[in-house]
Symmetry: C2
Subunit: 481 residues, 2 copies
């Protein structure tokens, strides 16, 4: 384990984050609310420590191996969570440091669970920082899931190696930087497009930016107490529904259609499955809500589609209190939380492709029972899926459920009522945000005990970094030579 | 598909069940409560139809292949459920035929979910029939899981081929009948032992028999409204705890220690894991209940151990209202419902060995990430587990969860409150009985809508017959040549 190079990269990441901390300062100065000071202080603390670490590790050999990769990703996200919490803490915006860290990790993991009971009372600069943590987290996730994790072989992500655009058409660019630039171009482009469309709907620049940041990252932080319902506009709802849906798509596919190959998207099995899921979930909710909650066709479709897409993509924006919807809708929403977006998107959950492959695997198992001497393999996009990839995905799935169950017991052990305990863990590990019960769409995470918030923050990291990345560091053999 | 031989076997099974229906008649005659008539009528109906089917299919060629095996098992259990419902229906003991079928399927699948709100008002002959359905179901399960499913290759059960005792020591007897006789000997012996021990504790013969039947089958039907709490005896609680634990052990291991090889049990990894689970679950509940629910050491241990073992083995007997226990206990109990007993026992759930192998698989996946060039395989009892077996188990696990999720949506769609909807499905597919919410330990299944009862009865069959056996019949290619 080349620990020096790990620290070197971490130092560079902290310096980068310190620069990002300067971005909301102009807003603070314009508003004159005094919150430029916490942001600046956080930037200075970051720069100081990042600089020191970088200085002492400057001689590190630049060979990043397998293990170093796991360490950089997990520690990087953790450090971002810690440094990103400083502005909230310095500004006294959160009651405790734990709350600040929770909010920051919730941001960088694009979860969107909040401990703020009154978002509208926060200074705009902090709201921008909050949205920015999600947007930066989303950027990180795209590169992580399309370039880094496939190389590390985590949980079947190697399946998507070929999907990543690079200088050489359909093959993985050996240089992560090139890949990253192309994907980020798409990400920035879609963000700008959403900002423009929201502003055309009468949303002001500041709120358009914040919501576009939170949408593209499938984060879900809003600048309104009532989330997107606060705009009370069908146009805004539909724009955000569209962009949530786009944010849940593999960004390599976005790159393809922007590069003039629009059909590639529809040839992709994961995308077709994802689109079908969004559509079916919308229709099921529409069916159950019909007459029971909404009378008008347009209203019902608008709210059902928004909620289905918001939860499937793990964004977590709200336009309705789905705890008042029929019970079947609630259970369907919880199941959607497990599925999440496409691999290579900013969406969380177990990912559509994994669920799709598990379903195919189960079907093949059934087929084999009836045809004991037959041969049939699991395929994706017409190509057989390597056995190791499938095994890896099945292992991921088992770990995902085991972590959910284990964390739920811990939460309940802290005295939290069972539905809230289970829902908060599902919503955290899936990076959704709102759950059910005490953490439902009209509630927030403020009332949970401090230890519980730390458990959930850990769950967010677990889910966001595809479990293996984090758990590898806790594996007894990891640090041994 | 040799459908004739399937019907021939079904006809023989119905005839066998008709004989079993005569067993409670002496009790009815002694009590003079008039319920001999429904039992006799049910036996005659069964004998009539069984005879007709057998007569018309007498010329069937006796070759039972793979597909015929699936059909016999699934249809056999279904037909038992239907014929076994007749006494309740003819005696007007249940409000509807659906309720009678629910109760009967709950019996034969050893689930123990009941629609009777006042069991103590039922005639003793019907209570005996109710206990007998569980006991016969348990007999069926042992042979199914240790002799039939391994041959059919269902969900990794082929792993237990070598475990089955037979005339030739450790090898699978080619004749299922010999294997069955040996295992049933153990089953009957343990039942008699429990009857004797319960009677020594002052329980009368009738109730001892009924509870021993329900214990060995890990069924959970009681003759008391308050379940085992009705005896209010620490001795009875501990005897039943012991026998529930024994009923959750692979019966091939019981055969080994009775045949003079007591150490074989402790060398068995699944048994060690099962015993550890029972112990840990007891201690965790003991810890949380300490001071919060029970003050005395002995009382706390007695109630905690009983509930942990009752749920882990999927028996479902109750001595306490665990919905009043701390939240962590409740979530732990729900997780235990997924695990269940050992393969080859009468317990339900996903089985300890499957969960154990899934955990090992996930660990190996993690190891492989850190050692990308290393080779390591999943082992059980020191032997590497064949890849196909592991795949089959992972497919089983995925299907188990998919069926649970799907059925929960259907239940919620019928207007049942989410916690009750989810818990009723988990408790049915795992063959436990009591769940949470509206189907908690102090409630019953009477109030559920008729369609919901049929959905749950189907879930019981699904879980009991290890999913694949039932789902194979629904697979489009199954009935094709």
């Amino acid at each position: 384990m080349n620990i020096l190079v790990v620290f070197k990269v971490l130092g560079a990441l902290i310096l980068f984050l310190s620069c990002a901390l300067l971005i909301p300062i102009p807003v603070a100065l314009i508003d004159g609310d005094g919150s430029y000071w916490p942001l600046l202080m956080a930037a200075l603390v970051g720069a100081f420590w990042g600089g020191i670490v970088l200085y002492f590790c400057r001689s590190a050999k630049p060979d990043l191996g397998h293990r170093e990769g796991f360490a950089v990703v997990t520690l990087g996200w953790t450090v971002f969570g810690l440094v990103g919490a400083l502005p909230y803490y310095f500004a006294d915006a959160t009651p405790t440091l734990t709350d600040a860290i929770f909010e920051s990790i919730s941001g960088f993991t694009t979860t969107g669970a909040t401990i703020f009971t009154e978002v509208e009372l926060l200074p705009r600069s902090l709201l921008l920082w909050r949205a920015l943590t999600q947007w930066l987290g989303g950027m990180g996730i795209i590169v992580l899931s399309l370039a880094i994790l496939p190389m590390l072989g985590v949980g079947g992500m190697q399946l998507f190696k070929a999907e990543v655009p690079g200088p050489t058409a359909d093959r993985l660019s050996p240089r992560i930087q090139d890949t990253a630039k192309l994907l980020w171009g798409v990400y920035v482009g879609l963000t700008v497009a959403e900002i423009v469309l929201l502003m055309l709907g009468g949303v002001d620049l500041f709120e358009s930016v914040c919501h576009a940041f939170a949408t593209l990252a499938t984060g879900g932080f809003s600048t309104r107490n009532a989330s997107v319902a606060g705009f009370n506009s069908a146009y805004v709802d539909w724009v955000i529904t569209l962009f949530m849906f786009l944010a849940g798509v593999n960004f390599a596919l976005h790159f393809a259609w922007i590069a003039g190959r629009p059909l590639k998207m529809f040839k992709n099995e994961e995308f077709r499955c994802y689109a079908a899921l969004a559509l079916i979930a919308t229709l099921v909710m529409f069916f159950f809500n019909w007459g029971a909650v909404y009378e008008g066709f347009a209203d019902n479709l608008r709210y059902s589609a928004f909620q289905a897409v918001s939860i499937l993509t793990t964004t977590g924006f709200g336009t309705a209190d789905y705890e008042l919807w029929p019970f079947a809708c609630q259970i369907l929403l919880v199941l959607l939380m497990f599925i999440g977006g496409c691999a290579g998107s900013t969406g969380g959950g177990a990912k559509v492709s994994r669920i799709l492959l598990i379903v195919k695997h189960a079907t093949v198992q059934m087929w084999r029972l009836i045809h004991p001497r037959g041969v049939r393999r699991v395929k994706l996009d017409g190509r057989p899926v390597p056995e190791e990839v499938l095994q890896s995905i099945l292992g991921f799935f088992a770990l995902y459920l085991a972590c959910t169950g284990g964390a739920a017991i811990v939460m309940a052990g802290l005295g939290i009522e069972p539905v809230t305990a289970v829902a908060s863990v599902i919503a955290s590990i899936g990076n959704i945000g709102p759950g059910l019960g005490g953490v439902g769409p009209t509630d927030n995470y403020a009332a949970l005990p401090q230890v519980g918030k730390m458990v959930l923050a850990f769950c967010m990291l677990l889910g966001r970094l595809e479990l293996f990345t984090v758990l590898a560091l806790l594996y007894p053999g990891f640090w041994r030579r």
